[in-house]
Amino acid sequence: YSTVDKSSAWQKNDITYKIVNFTPDIPRADVESSIKRAFKVWSDVTPLTFTRVYEGDCDIEIQFVSGDHGDNSPFDGPDGILAHAFQPGPRIGGDTHFDDAETFTKNSQQYNLFLVAAHEFGHALGLNHATDQGALMYPTYPSTDPDNFRLPQDDIDAIQSLYGKTSNPIQPTGPTTPSKCDPNIVFNAVTTLRGELLFFLNRFVFRKHPRGGESDLLFIQELWPTLPSDIDSAYENPITGEILVFKEKKYWTLDGFDVSQGPRSIAELGFPRNVKKIDAAVHVETLGKTYFFVNNKYYSYDEDKQAMDKGFPKFIAKDFPGMRPNIDAAFYYKGLLYFFQESVQYEYSIESKRIKQVLRSNSWLGC
């Protein structure tokens, strides 16, 4: 992270703000609640307090403006630049301007006002842009679920370096951004997608072509805005070209980068009620079967008949000798299964029922 000098931050903890005008995109009450929540992001982790004033002087003046609005930093119409804010100081210092040419929302559609405001208030408090891709202070719009937003640790460290910690006995911690070559990396789910590999982890997905090139780290919601974070499992059915993504007792169907259906209940696929989540899923092209791994057992689903095979679930240890229960993720590639357990990956031959190789879980990412 990067910040202004401590001497250029606010030299007080009680900050006032004023909402000068409103966007017509959402009701006033939603603007007010989005702004209030955006300030709370910062006050939750520091001794800072934010008080709204309705007239007179204040520290942070909030406006919705468009085009050239007299501060030598004109806005550029829809998309592009969404907002800007000035670092702490008198007069225009701390002031925050939103581009009124944008459509602001209170949901996961772009551009969520709370997310944009929380970022800008970081500037108004003295934070610069961060290079951590998962940080709130990263320069680009964060395609992350606004309802489940938690301030990332990089931003907590940044703001606390200027204003100190909260007086709460339990210090808040935030999510960190995964590093592809972390030897302890544990993926939530792995699947192929039209020749590429996707590795899901918390809010993120690593996208990689197996034949080479650098992997891209993206927010899951950047590719599929209506998908949740922290998914449990996923698989590609190459016959239909669809990907099924599972979280707890729900699943979504993806057609490339569109969410074509969902969420639906996994009961529709034939899972009994006692299945609370699917640890891993993989489609074996040569058999036309999809295997679902749940704790120490697995289910077999016939994609042609669109029904669960009879006689399942069966024990993983019996039919996949060498494999232990609680598989984190799995995918099928060029006739072999790849099972992920914690930070390890097992290359598995279905034909010989043997583990062929033990690899690090991030070996596909060039690590």
Binding site: G80, I81, L82, A83, H84, Q110, P139, T140
Partner: protein, 85 residues
């Protein structure tokens, strides 16, 4: 597929060069005379600033306007500079 169609370096610079120049002026404090920057040599301010931008975003630092760099520049973002100013 969401993969990019192949495009030559000349194509990219021709199509996105002006946009990239504006981006670097705005967010990376690139000083120009307002005219398009010339040949992309290593001493060229465009190349240097493009490298800074690529490093900031964790992209491969090539100093050339490649697909991933263009894609990053096209993302919606905050109007505050990244470095400089």
């Amino acid at each position: 597929s969401a993969a990019f169609p192949a495009a030559s370096q000349e194509d990219l610079e021709g199509k996105y060069g002006k946009m990239a120049q504006k981006y670097l002026e705005k967010f990376y404090d690139m000083k120009t005379t307002g005219r398009p920057v010339g040949r992309k040599t290593n001493n060229n301010p465009f190349v240097k600033k493009l490298q800074e931008m690529q490093a900031f975003f964790g992209l491969e630092v090539t100093g050339k306007l490649d697909q991933k760099t263009v894609k990053m520049m096209e993302k919606p973002r905050c109007g505050v500079h990244d470095i400089g100013e």
